[in-house]
């Protein structure tokens, strides 16, 4: 075997070892940041490009993207909320024990003896809420700026799946504390899953085809909410859905880059004008690479066929914006967690129903519809809405108003009008149903199938649909119809949710305030 360093003066091995030791920190840093400290534009670019996480961003971003009004940071806030739930959720998993009864005690222990346990649970809860809100708002932003249009259709579809996954994550987390709130909210959820029975019963085919029963069985693993349901929800909540969400999120981010960054108006460059003098300069050095790469990467990388003058390096411009939004989201969650504790009611008691039993707030609009018809409210209308949303980018093939808020024929005025129509319709239908009741109250013998198809929920949906069709004809534009319909549904969702949260009491009766609820 040869001695290392053979042929060198004796004692130099020790010296080289000392040199290597001295150089180790620098070399470690170099090996981690392969490009060296990013001080030049080029180094910044390779820094971003050469990092697994950063390179989901393009190296340079358009100035339009960096305007606050373009996105209001909603996508980043939603992702930030997810990151916070992920971190706090992992911490909670160290103490949480998914078994009925024991689960409740473990949450109590998290509250009372785990260091900052309640604070962490609060953050988990609030960041989950923030995530749901941010995802909804992000969707509204993308819709109103018509950013779903080609080439971004598929990313809109991915976004819809992310929305559903987010709601699923939130909903599955609801059962885990095993308190009264959890138990009865999931009871509502399970009954919604079972609601196709309303139709199969009416058709008299439940014995041969019991879709509702099957769905409920799949969800709960049993007829009743028990240990089977809890382990199912736990597995979905901590493993399956997070993995699904991470995978979808990866695709979502990656597609943002591949689809050419965020949507912007065709005349964005002109509208932006010249750079402010203080802004970090654009291309201070001659590019070492030409855009030959563009020939390999087919399609719309940001710089293809366009001058690079209106792009800025992602580092620092985009990264500071993103980090700022993320920290702001964190701050909001922390502040809320300091003030309001995550709820924990009495131990779940199947013998003692909560009245009213309410689903998580973002499902209370649906629960309001469910109170009219379980099938339509829980499955029929939501399916139609989600399908409609999925199809929007494939139906709206116009180009007017892309990248602009409320862009498209009609514009902000149409949205305002639609908001008025949407609010009037939902308030009108609700007021009618609350004041006069519905068919069953007038003719108790009415067959269920009729009520399933003619109830305040379906009537409201029909009004919105007709209004939307009228808009398509009036403006001769699909986008106009979509703007109207989306706005209407948004109004309907908000109003129904508020009614479900605040104005519904025991037995789902209407009350002006919870103070008027009768005592059970």
């Amino acid at each position: 075997m040869m001695r290392a360093g053979a042929g060198q003066p004796p004692g130099s091995g020790m010296r080289r070892f000392a040199e290597n030791l001295r150089a180790a920190p620098r070399r470690i840093a170099e090996s981690v940041i392969r490009t060296g400290w990013p001080t030049t534009d080029r180094a910044r670019s390779s820094f971003v490009f050469g990092n697994l996480f950063f390179h989901l961003h393009s190296v340079r971003v358009h100035r339009w993207t960096l305007r606050w009004a373009t996105t209001w940071g909603l996508g980043v806030a939603a992702a930030g909320g997810f990151f916070l739930t992920l971190v706090t959720g992992i911490l909670l998993m160290f103490y949480y024990k998914p078994y009925p009864g024991v689960a409740y005690d473990s949450i109590k222990d998290i509250h009372f003896v785990v260091p900052t346990g309640q604070f962490i649970r609060n953050i988990h809860r609030w960041s989950a809420q923030l995530m749901v809100v941010a995802v909804f708002l992000h969707m509204a932003r993308v819709f109103y700026t018509a950013a779903y249009r080609p080439p971004r259709e598929f990313n809109w579809v991915v976004g819809m799946f992310l929305l559903v996954t987010t709601l699923g994550l939130s909903f599955t987390g609801y059962l885990l504390p095993w308190d009264q709130l959890a138990y009865w909210a999931i009871t509502i959820g399970a009954n919604i899953a079972q609601s196709p029975r309303e139709v199969t019963d009416a058709l008299g085919i439940t014995d041969v085809f019991d879709l509702g029963g099957l769905q409920k069985l799949l969800l709960l693993g049993s007829e009743e909410i028990g240990e089977e349901a809890l382990i199912r929800f736990y597995l979905l909540h901590v493993m399956i859905l997070p993995l699904v969400l991470v995978a979808l999120l990866g695709v979502h981010f990656w597609r943002v880059r591949k689809d050419g960054g965020l949507a912007r108006p065709a005349d964005a460059d002109a509208r932006l004008g010249r750079l402010a003098p203080r802004t970090y300069p654009v291309f201070t050095e001659t590019p070492a690479k030409t855009y030959q790469l563009a020939a390999i990467v087919r399609g719309r990388t940001p710089a293809v066929g366009r001058g690079p003058e209106h792009t800025l390096p992602a580092l620092p411009h985009l990264f500071y914006a993103e980090a700022g939004v993320f920290l702001l989201a964190t701050l909001i969650c922390l502040a809320l967690s300091m003030v309001w504790d995550a709820p924990l009611k009495e131990l779940a008691n199947p013998a003692l129903p909560e009245n009213p039993a309410k689903a998580p707030w973002y499902f209370l609009g649906l629960q309001e519809l469910v109170s009219f018809s379980a099938f339509m409210g829980g499955i029929g209308i939501p399916t139609v809405v989600v399908l409609g949303l999925l199809l929007i980018p494939y139906l709206d093939r116009e180009t007017e108003g892309t990248g602009e808020w409320f862009g498209g024929p009609g514009g902000p005025k149409l949205v305002l009008l639609s908001a008025v129509v949407g609010l009037a319709a939902v308030l009108g239908v609700e007021a009618f149903a609350i004041h006069f009741g519905w068919i069953r109250e007038w003719w108790p013998e009415t067959p269920q199938l009729l009520i399933t198809f003619v109830n305040p929920g379906t009537v409201l949906t029909a009004i919105y649909a007709l209004y939307s069709v009228a808009l398509v004809r009036r403006y001769d534009s699909t986008r106009a119809g979509a703007l109207g319909l989306f706005t209407c549904f948004l109004c309907g969702y908000v109003v129904l949710t508020v009614i479900g949260v605040h104005f519904r009491g025991p037995n789902w009766e209407f009350y002006w305030s919870p103070a008027h609820w009768p005592v059970h």
Partner: protein, 560 residues
């Protein structure tokens, strides 16, 4: 758009986030209530003890009782191995009780939330905790969690025993329920006897009297000579019975005995024994105050307050309640609240079952005394009155005065016992037989014997004639009934102001002699006149006519 604004945002949000995290860490590590209290406790310890004392979370963990009680994190003095600080409300000593708290935990007796480490949560005074701590004055109600069948003697016996205990000045030497136990000032020696508060649970020497007497008569008796004298055998028995009831739960035994003297079980079931008219009270003490209607209850929203107000005016607190206003004194109400709070019944492993619970649940022993007086007090007194005088509650039909000497004079034991056993269908009187109300034949006999004492204890008439001997003219009887009886008893015996005579159970149990005698003599104190004696209000019926009426009444038998 300018990167500087985003940098500022990042800086500001980061700093604020950091500040909140630091605040949370400080709160967690320094400001927690139990940490503050333990530091205060340490300051009050002597220096050498304070050195060894570490501020840390403390708990009593008893897996078999599902107790994880962190109460000792604040109440450090009650933590095993720590020194209590006398007289301090937080760090003080746990009073001596039958069970060592370190082996049983805290919440099992006191209620509250053992896992909690903040005062409000731990004491259960927060929303969504259904078991708040028992107030101090009712604290022994917590015994009911396990001692579901705590045996109690008769209330009067209890009072007599206590009176005798005091009259013979036992309190001079012995402590009992926190009283007595020191020789009075001016005495010769500080000779104090053992505390007898737990004598019923721990047991006592059956030779106590002989030994006491021997000591007091010994030549060197000293203070014994003046402090102990002979006690008659009957008083001794009463004192011993009284002592057997001293199980270390002062107040609970008395309140339970009171409950069993007011006839509450006539309508309410506890542990499967009692009537059906009122709600089952087995778990009354576990009612969640958050689920009670306090709209007509002044004062604090606690279960004791709700129960007390409910006793004062049942129908005002629970609209539509059938429970009559019992006219109880405030002391009685307080005692009943005490007892109801003790109806808790946690299901612990059988190894923890107390003896009386096993005797009751396995061998069917009663948790209350089974002499006639107690049984009557337990099941009958609420409706028939404490002395059988009957009751008239507003809104309810009058309850019969079974102590009426006219009734007892003609009702045979057999008839009364049969009425108790089978009840009176259609009336409020339920069947108390073993299969229905759960009274055993011997117990029914005891109740009947006790009822006799209302009429001076004279034995009931013995049926010399056969049950059915009347040979009356039914047709004549029908006419007489229509003209004389129907007004009060209804044309078809269905009852109106007077009781229903067509009642199958009445007809099955009443002998002809009973019916004839009732018509002839009437029932003093009621509207039923004696038709055998002259009166300005009605005509006198001959024996023949009375028998005809009875024969007619008999035709209803088996018809419905």
């Amino acid at each position: 758009m300018d990167v500087r604004w985003n940098k500022l945002l990042l800086l500001g949000a980061s700093l604020a986030t950091l500040a909140l995290l630091v605040a949370a860490a400080v709160e967690e590590n320094f400001a927690r209530e139990w940490r503050v209290l333990q530091r205060r406790y340490r300051q009050r310890l002597p220096a050498e003890k304070a050195r060894d004392f570490s501020v840390q979370l403390r708990q009593i963990f008893v897996p078999s009782l599902r107790a994880t009680d962190r109460c000792t994190s604040c109440h450090v003095g009650m933590s095993p191995g720590e020194e209590p600080i006398e007289g301090d409300p937080v760090f003080g000593k746990h009073p001596r009780v039958a069970h060592e708290p370190a082996e049983y935990g805290c919440a099992v007796c006191h209620g509250g939330q053992g896992r909690a480490t903040r005062k409000a949560d731990a004491h259960g005074l927060v929303p969504h905790w259904p078991r708040p701590m028992l107030p101090r004055r009712y604290v022994y109600a917590g015994c009911g969690s396990c001692h579901t069948h705590l045996a109690v003697p008769n209330l009067d016996m209890l009072a007599r025993g206590r009176a005798l205990f005091e009259r013979y000045d036992c309190l001079a030497c012995h402590a009992l329920d926190g009283r007595g136990g020191t020789f009075r000032p001016g005495s010769v020696a500080a000779a104090s006897g053992p505390d007898l508060s737990g004598a019923g649970a721990a047991g006592f020497d059956p030779q106590w009297y002989e030994k006491h007497l021997a000591k007091s008569q010994a030549p060197d008796a000293g203070p014994w000579r003046v402090s102990f004298g002979p006690i008659p055998a009957e008083d001794r028995r009463t004192i011993e019975e009284f002592l057997s009831s001293r199980v270390g739960a002062p107040g609970l035994v008395e309140s339970k005995a009171l409950f069993h003297s007011l006839g509450c079980r006539g309508c309410h079931k506890i542990g499967g024994v009692g009537g059906d008219d009122g709600p089952d009270l087995t778990l009354e003490g576990e009612k969640d105050p958050a689920r009670l209607d306090f709209s007509n209850v002044p004062g604090e929203r606690t279960l004791p307050n709700w129960l007390a107000e409910h006793f004062r005016a049942p129908a005002a607190v629970v609209p539509g309640s059938q429970m009559p206003q019992l006219g109880l004194s405030e002391e009685q109400i307080d005692a009943l609240v005490f007892y109801l709070l003790s109806l808790r019944r946690s299901d612990f492993p059988e190894a923890y079952w107390p003896k009386d619970r096993i005797r009751a649940q396995r061998f069917g022993e009663r948790e209350f005394a089974t002499d006639g007086a107690t049984l009557y007090g337990t099941f009958c007194a609420a409706c028939h009155g404490p002395r059988g005088e009957g009751m008239r509650y507003p809104g309810l039909p009058a309850f019969p005065a079974i102590g009426n000497p006219d009734f007892l004079g003609i009702a045979s034991d057999r008839f009364v016992a049969a009425t108790v056993e089978h009840g009176r269908p259609g009336r409020r009187m339920p069947a108390w037989g073993e299969k229905e109300g759960g009274l055993r034949p011997a117990e029914i006999r005891a109740v009947v014997a006790y009822a006799r004492s209302f009429a001076g204890g004279a034995p009931g008439p013995v049926d010399r004639q056969p049950w059915r001997w009347v040979r009356g003219d039914v047709k004549a009887g029908a006419e007489l009934y229509a003209s004389t009886c129907a007004l009060c008893h209804g044309p078809r015996g269905e009852g109106a102001e007077g009781p229903a005579l067509a009642n199958p159970v009445l007809l099955a149990n009443a002998t002809d002699a009973y019916l004839v005698e009732t018509i002839r003599r009437g029932r003093r104190g009621t509207s039923m006149p004696g038709f055998g004696s002259p009166s300005p209000a009605h005509r006198v019926l001959s024996d023949q006519e009375i028998e005809s009426i009875v024969a007619f009444i008999r035709t209803w038998e088996g018809k419905r």
